[in-house]
Symmetry: C2
Subunit: 253 residues, 2 copies
């Protein structure tokens, strides 16, 4: 096992950081790694908003539902799917500027942006930093667009808090690798498969604790009835759809 | 600079591989890394279709426009945004099975799947393998769904060929890091900025060669008039939109 594999297998989200700032050299190394990933046709369809300013973090905190992680890290990077820069390039080179106003191009740019973000995370962790993704970045995407001054053809898709860890939580209870892997074609999951694959997770002390706190029968219900409820998901799906329309990635009906 | 940073900064796409198969231990290590990334709410919304079978690669090759890379690697991994397994879990636990039939959940799952894919790539490269993403996976997504037997709520989003490199191409001409980075808020690009940021790329011998071959004025036009033409992008955007509808991630209008 080499250092890279160790870094990846040692990943856990960090939500408590030392006050120590992340040095400029370290930030630059992380950014270089972010910008060196695979990218469709070498178009590099992403941008990175770097924030070390606590006032800026405070501004977006309500959109992250005021999770402590939204303000307590010394460094935050927001990765955006970005066709705007490429369109500007086209504009100044006498090329069409609306070739990429569509959902396919959005999918390319999301892919580029998440590749960049994950490269940044692995690089950061290899340098002793802790990281935590804020999934909330995709929820009220319209308001992030306003606050971050994102032009048309730019959508934020990943937000990561980084800093030197001030905690060492246990590794998360993940599903076993065989839960994800299919040979050649997808094999559907029987009830037997699901019971087997979720067994360790369902009997994990974390899960027992969560069920007790929520007074629910099982973990599935914790998700569907508490954490990610249909009504909320559909509301935020609609916000995302409207943002895709406003940002020129999806035609209005 | 540590080994992880070196691995990431040394990335280049490999399109020619030795015949040598990738050993099962190596594949397992790569898969363990893929499955250990960040994931929304620890829901782990992805699946991985692993292929070493050349007949299977031949079947999907036309959907990759018969690029050699679609069949010439000993190993291929297709990463899917997957809400199906979670819905099955809900089904067998008396929880709602349609909470995640929406675009927001699709965005979560795409993110989880690309994180997994990039972890796999970095892990593979750290083990001496070469990798190449096949962007074509998002094009005729409906036909990939058929061939891979993907159920509702599953969409392929990344396809990566892997193997031991039989070439050592030069590093790609990327934009400088400052092209991607914004402090706190997005700063728009002036014509001066674009000229400066694209200068090295536009004067790169690769670019000169490409312009000659295509008989075009500049690289922007190579993209808009040859490689990723509006008409094709819109066609494949429509295929993707219909697939999102069929797979229950987007309501039909």
């Amino acid at each position: 096992m080499n250092q890279t594999i160790e870094t990846i297998l040692n990943h856990r989200s960090i939500r408590k950081f030392k006050a120590e700032a992340v040095g400029q050299d370290t930030i630059q190394t992380i950014l270089r790694c972010a910008c060196n990933g695979s990218t469709l046709g070498n178009m590099q369809l992403f941008s990175i908003i770097v924030t070390t300013d606590k006032d800026m973090m405070q501004k977006t905190a309500p959109l992250h539902f005021n999770q402590p992680i939204a303000t307590n890290a010394p460094l935050m990077m927001t990765f955006c799917a970005d066709l705007h820069r490429f369109n500007r390039y086209c504009e100044f080179r006498n090329a069409s500027t609306d070739s990429y106003d569509n959902l396919q191009s959005y999918q390319w740019a999301v892919t580029d942006a998440i590749i960049a973000a994950q490269n940044a995370c692995v690089a950061a962790e290899s340098l002793g930093l802790g990281i935590c993704w804020l999934g909330t970045i995709t929820y009220q995407v319209d308001q992030f667009i306003d606050i971050l001054h994102l032009p048309k053809n730019v959508i934020p898709v990943a937000c990561i808090s980084m800093g030197y860890p001030d905690e060492q939580p246990a590794l998360t209870d993940k599903l076993p690798v065989e839960a994800f892997v299919h040979q050649d074609t997808y094999q559907d999951y029987s009830e037997y498969d699901i019971n087997k694959l979720y067994k360790d997770k369902e009997t994990h002390p974390n899960t027992i604790q969560i069920l007790k706190e929520n007074n629910l029968e099982n973990l599935a219900q914790v998700f569907t009835e508490r954490r990610y409820v249909k009504k909320d998901n559909e509301f935020f799906a609609d916000v995302l759809k409207k943002a895709l329309q406003n940002q020129h990635f999806l035609k209005e009906e």
